[in-house]
Amino acid sequence: MRLKRLDLKAFGPFTDRKPLAFMSRTPDLHIIFGPNEAGKSSSLRALKALLFGFPQQTPDNFIHSYDQLRVGGCLENSAGEEIAFQRRKKRKADVIDAAGDPLDLDLLTPFLHGVEPEIFESLYGIDHDTLVRGGEDILAQKGEVGQALFAAGAGMSSLREVIDQLEKEAADLFKPAGQLPRINMAIKRFKALQKAVKAASLSAKEWKDHQAALKNALAERAGLEKDRDHHNKALHRLNRLKQAIPELASLKSRQDQQSALGKIIPLPPDFTEQYRLVTQTMREAHQQLQKDTDRRKTLEEKQKAMSFNTDLLKQAERVDDFHQRLGEYRKGQKDRPVREGMRISLRRDAAGLLQQVRPDLRLEGVETLRPMLTKKRIVQTLSAQYEAIRHQLTLAHKQGKTAELEQKEVTRYRDTLPEVKTSQGLVQAVKPAQKAGDMDTHIARRRTDIELNKKHCRTTLKRIGLWSGDLSELMTISLPRSETVQQFETRYSKRVEERREIEKDRKKDEKDLRNAQAQIKKVMYAGEIPSETALAQTREKREQGWQLLRQQWLDQADVTEESRAYDPDLPLPEAYEGFVVQADLIADRLRREADRVANAAAFRTQVETLETSLAETIKTKAAVDQRLRELDDVWIRMWEPFGITPLSPKEMSGWLADMDKLRFKVSDIVKKEQELQRDVEQRKMLKQAMEKTLAAMAEEAPPAGDTLGPVLILAETVLERIAGQKAEHEKAKERQKKAKKASHQATEDLKAARDALAQWQAQWQKAIMGLGLEDEVSPLEALDLIETLQSCFDKLKEADDLKKRIEGIDRDAADLEAAVKALLETVAPDMLALPLDQAILQLRIMLNQAQKDATLYHKLSEELDALQEEVTGATKNLQDAREQMAELLGVAKCEKPEQLTAVIAKFTEYQRLQEKISDTEATLARIGAGMTLEALSRQAAEMNADDLPGLIDSLERDIQERIHPEINKISQVIGEENTRLSAMDGKGTAAETAEEMEHELAGIRRLSERYALLKLASKILQQAIERYREDHQDPVLKIAARYFNDLTVGSFVDLRTDVDDKGEPILIGVRPDTARLTVEKMSSGTRDQLFLALRLATLEWRLNTSESMPFIVDDILINFDDDRSRATLEVLADLSMKNQVILFTHHRQIVETATRIKGKGTIQIHTL
């Protein structure tokens, strides 16, 4: 299949682009050149979209939306069939005809042969990346032949990657001796889980054993516990008696003591306590009264002895005030001389400053100058204005001068400029010439074109032959019409047909005749055919013999002579007999072989008929030949006027068609010649018009000759020059205008500045008038004077402030002294003579002493009041206690308090014994545990107390040493069994672990299957590679060697196989000097070419069995040097003789190289 047209209707940057037409008889090499952005990649995608439909996403929708995308084209297959169709971007029905109606996809099958887009790209497409990767892969597999061939044959760049991937994935899954691959690890985990399940599982036997053990232990423990309980009961009884016996004895003894006490006066329970309290209260009240009386006496004496200054105490606040003011007073006395000194110094400074401003004025008159201070701002403002006005003045002067200079300069420059010529006429002459374009080239090309065409026509005429003459003559001769020739052809063919028919008849007749003769011969060979004639002859002979015999026998005639004549050899009777037999024989045979006879007769008749027919046919043929000759004559005569000896009418028909074509071409040439003539005339006219105008403008004469170019160039140069001069003039004029304007502006500015100065000076005079200065002063000087005056006033103010402060100090001191004196006169007249500060301090000390004494006096008074209250309380307490004592004596039936002690002691002893008896009875009740006192006493009486310890000890030992240890032991067993059994709670640990095992197992299963698959795939692939190598190594390598030689421009003359260290077959390049290079030693570019050679070789090899498809080459020459680029293009051109090659490129260099190469195929360049 090959591509005949690619129609970029709406795709990428293209909108109804002119179709790329791949028209040629051979498949050819087509170079599609597009610089960057021209749409080279888009058109490559368009080509694939045309063949296989649009992919789901495409970057080519930046102008046309998806539903607008269209690409069209025309394909031709090896059977010469063509199909034109378009593709749109749709999932179904994307193939449409020119009218937009969907086409059946099957229509494409005879062209695409079911090739998938991926396969197409890998088998019939190569780009730079694939090439480079292919080259790298050859290196990586060290030129291993199988892989190189297989990869190239499958259109793959990296087969090694596939094998590596398979092997790597497999190795990640499993290694026979590995630990880390996934399957190895999973198996390890699986085994661990298996162990865990076993550990977590519980066997039925184990459970049953533990159940039985528990049951036994429980029974045993119950028996032991029964023993223990029995022992304990006996022990309890013995222990009870052991405790009861001493208690019973003690009870008896106390009951006896109680009866010995005799009659008792019962006392209330708190009687003793009450007695103790009353006695104590009375004693304490007595002691208190004595103590208080002594203390009061002492205090009263102390108070009487005290005295203090009451007047001073009343004046305490004033004394404190004096003390506070004393600090201030002292500071004032210290500061006063310092301030006075400062005041005098300030006034001296002020006088000095005034001297600077007005030496004529004294300090006392300074106040007349104070109004000047208010003018300070005005003076400052004016001072600033003065600077600005001065600057304006200077600037205006300078600008005026510059403007004047510029004016003079421009005037001088304008005078030097040349005069400008008028160009209107020349412009009018030049414009038509420019519009006409490059007429010289156009005419020259057209002329060459015509000459070429003429030459071509002449050659064609010669090739057509039969007629010679001039081309112009060709146009005038009137050759026979093709219809006439057609008629002749018909007639000829009719005649020839007739003759052929006759000839056919003749041949048939001859054949039939030969057949018939052969049949006759066949019959004859089978023995002579008996004929009626022979029978008649024999019968006549027999009759003759009979007659002779009859003559001899009946007539006794001598028939010797006749007999001899009848039969020279035999005597008559035998001869006659012979004829009789013969006649019978013939007659028999005639009857017997009637069929054969009839056949023979029929063949004979046929032969006769055929012979007549044949003679007839030959005659007819002669007549037909005659007519043919006559037709020949007419035919040849018809061509005589043109001096042509004609060939057959059919050939002449072709000849006439060629001639017609030629004549059409010649007429085209004539037409072109006429157009050329018109162009030449037009050029002449244009040239003359320009020359005339130039002459009129007195410009230099243009160069002689027919061509328009030089004159046009001259005219354009003149026009440019004039335009330049005009511009110069305009520029100068503009400059002059500007200079004048600047000069005027400068004059205006100067005037304005002067006015401002005058106005300023008036204001200045007014401002400094008050200073009373006699001389002129500058603004800065005036400002200084005002500043000095300000300082003078400031100092004077400071001096005044100080004076006021001194006066304040004096006033305060006088006030204090007066107040102190007044106080002293009332409270301490003896201290009036003391200095003020000492008097104040002394007063302060006296006041402190007086205050302390007063406080003490008050405290003593308070204490005396409290003592009086205590005495009253104690007296009352004593009285209450005496009344209570009387009550107590009544209860105890005593008369005196002294008797009370004995009564109380007796009652207390009785009570003590009663308590002990109750306690003992309670103890016995407890020991008896429900047994009555009497029963207990009875049991105790029955038991010998000395046997008790022995009995108790024996029982206790049996419990402690035998029963308890055994119970403990068996309880431990029970505990253990219970723990075991409670752990056997039907938990699902084992089952859950088993589930985890299944998870692992599922993983192992999946990974193992994957592993098997990968390993198997890898093995099979390697085998297939090896098989492919065995089958294809020789033929494909042979082709590849040729390509490699061509692509490397003879750097390598051959490609061989060799074996490497491991015995694997590898590729070797052979140098012209027979040096052998492995792929590692080749440059990377050469390896790329090796890969390309292999690809091309497999492509060529495939052509033997498969339909060809366009080979799409995408810019693979980027890294090839010039020689190898050219060589590659030549190789592709050669290949294109058999298989269409379409090369896409961005590089003009490649296009240029392609136009120069000498390949076998035709090269077409298409520029986007």
């Binding site: 789901q56 079911g114 090739v115 991926e118 396969i119 790209e121 890998s122 990346d129 297989f150 044959g153 499958a154 259109g155 793959m156 596939v162 991937q165 026979p176 198996i187 085994k191 977590a200 599982s201 066997s203 039925a204 184990e206 459970w207 049953k208 709670d985 039907g986 640990t989 084992a990 089952a991 859950e992 088993a994 589930e995 985890e996 299944e998 998870h999 197992l1001 599922a1002 993983g1003 192992i1004 299963r1005 999946r1006 193992s1008 994957r1010 592993y1011 098997a1012 698959l1013 990968l1014 390993k1015 198997l1016 795939a1017 099979i1020 692939l1021 297939a1024 098989r1027 492919y1028 089958d1031 495939r1102 069995t1105 498969s1106």
Partner: protein, 419 residues
């Protein structure tokens, strides 16, 4: 009114098979699934206050030895006992093989039928009589039903039997009998067990396989549970299947014919998962994903199956309660390979050699010696069961051949500069 539950083939504590753990798999949701399903059965019995439960064999799994399983069962029987629910069991082939069955003392409310001859137990309070016989050994090939007594008049007659009837696909042909054998006994209800798929074979009398309680591998798809039967006045008024499974097994076939991009494949798979989940009544799903169809990106799928599987697992994880069991890549390319590769190309040669390759076990091990090493290391379990490793059966070999071919073609196409 009498109400009872008919269940069978519980296979307590037998693990779920074929689920490969992976990150985000809902491991907790399916842990102890047979136990949890059994617990649901107990809850159902107590909640609906049934009178008794019939277990028609295969309570335990034959190979399972952990006695904890029996203890678990006993504990659950204790719960039933407290609610006054009786339990009647015939042992099946698995129980006969189980060590637990023999060792387990049965609580008072549980009756295990004799394995020597058919027994009939009357429940006079309910006017019900139950006939049954346990398996004496793992493989019972006699027609047990034949020896069952004829119906007892004035009672509701139930036949309890573990049988494969006249044979059921995927189940051993034990205690064979015909429907006519059963019908001829004149019982009201035949409670059968052994077949894991629920099946109601006849309605007068009712003959029912309740199916197993919890599906345990990908061949046991669909809802699983027990059958609740209500009898009023000696007549069956309802036979109701109740779903009790914890985890639902399903195969999910997705046609990728229309998918041209990875996104569209993801979308199709996600949609299929959603549909399956809708049908799973909110249960956790174990899904087998089968990708089919003449698919435009067939090669891309086959080139990186592991990566795709991870992506599908990611989608499953997104739903939270879906466990992707396996992914079967069964898509095909749009054209036949022979059409694509023509005659004398290396790949065409490769295809031919794959087609002509003998793949029986010996050849395989000869071709890839590493496989012997692998086989020796693998656990024994991998070589048994429905999907044994390197199974030499004809369809497996054909499948392996296709897989090898598709893998290689995919790899070669993906690295042929086509992408």
């Amino acid at each position: 009114m009498v109400k009872f539950i008919h269940t069978a083939d519980i296979h307590l504590d037998s693990p779920l098979k074929g689920l490969e753990a992976h990150e985000d798999a809902p491991v907790e949701e399916i842990r102890g699934a047979t136990r949890r399903a059994f617990d649901r059965l107990i809850d159902l019995a107590i909640d609906t206050a049934v009178d008794f439960i019939l277990i028609a064999g295969d309570l335990y799994d034959g190979d399972w030895k952990d006695y904890n399983t029996g203890l678990f069962f006993a504990a659950r029987m204790g719960r039933l006992s407290k609610s006054g629910i009786r339990v009647f069991i015939v042992s099946g082939n698995h129980d006969a093989a189980s060590q637990i069955t023999r060792a387990m003392p049965l609580p008072d409310n549980v009756t295990l039928f004799s394995h020597q001859k058919p027994e009939s137990i009357k429940l006079d309070d309910l006017d019900v009589i139950i006939h049954g016989q346990s398996y004496s050994s793992r493989a019972v090939t006699d027609n047990l039903a034949a020896q069952y007594p004829q119906q007892t008049p004035n009672y509701f007659n139930i036949g309890l039997l573990h049988t494969a009837l006249t044979g059921r696909e995927g189940h051993e042909d034990y205690a064979p009998c015909t429907l006519d054998d059963l019908i001829s006994k004149g019982y009201d209800y035949w409670a059968l067990g052994h077949v894991h798929k629920r099946e109601s074979l006849f309605e007068d009398p009712w003959i029912v396989f309740p199916g197993n309680l919890q599906g345990r591998h990908i061949k046991e798809t669909g809802p699983k549970g027990a059958t609740v039967v209500t009898v009023e006045g000696g007549q069956i008024t309802s036979v109701e299947a109740r779903e009790l499974d914890v985890l639902r097994w399903a195969t999910c076939q997705v046609d990728l014919s229309e998918c041209e991009t990875a996104e569209s494949v993801h979308d199709a798979v996600r949609q299929a998962f959603e549909q399956e989940l809708d049908q799973a009544s909110g249960k956790t799903l174990a899904l087998r994903l089968i990708l089919t169809g003449k698919c435009p990106i067939h090669s891309r799928l086959l080139d990186r199956t592991a990566q795709w599987t991870e992506e599908f697992r990611g989608i499953a994880a997104g739903f939270g309660d879906v466990w992707l069991e396996t992914v079967k890549f069964q898509t095909s390319r749009q054209k036949r390979l022979e059409e694509i590769f023509g005659e004398d190309t290396p790949i065409a040669g490769l295809l031919q050699s794959i087609q002509h390759l003998e793949l029986d076990n010996d050849t395989l091990l000869g071709l890839v010696p590493e496989l012997s090493a692998l086989k020796n290391k693998l656990p024994a379990e991998i070589h048994s069961g429905d999907e044994a490793f390197l199974d030499p059966s004809e369809d497996k070999i054909a499948a392996l051949r296709t897989e090898v071919q598709e893998l290689l073609i995919a790899k070669l196409l993906q690295h042929g500069g086509a992408e």
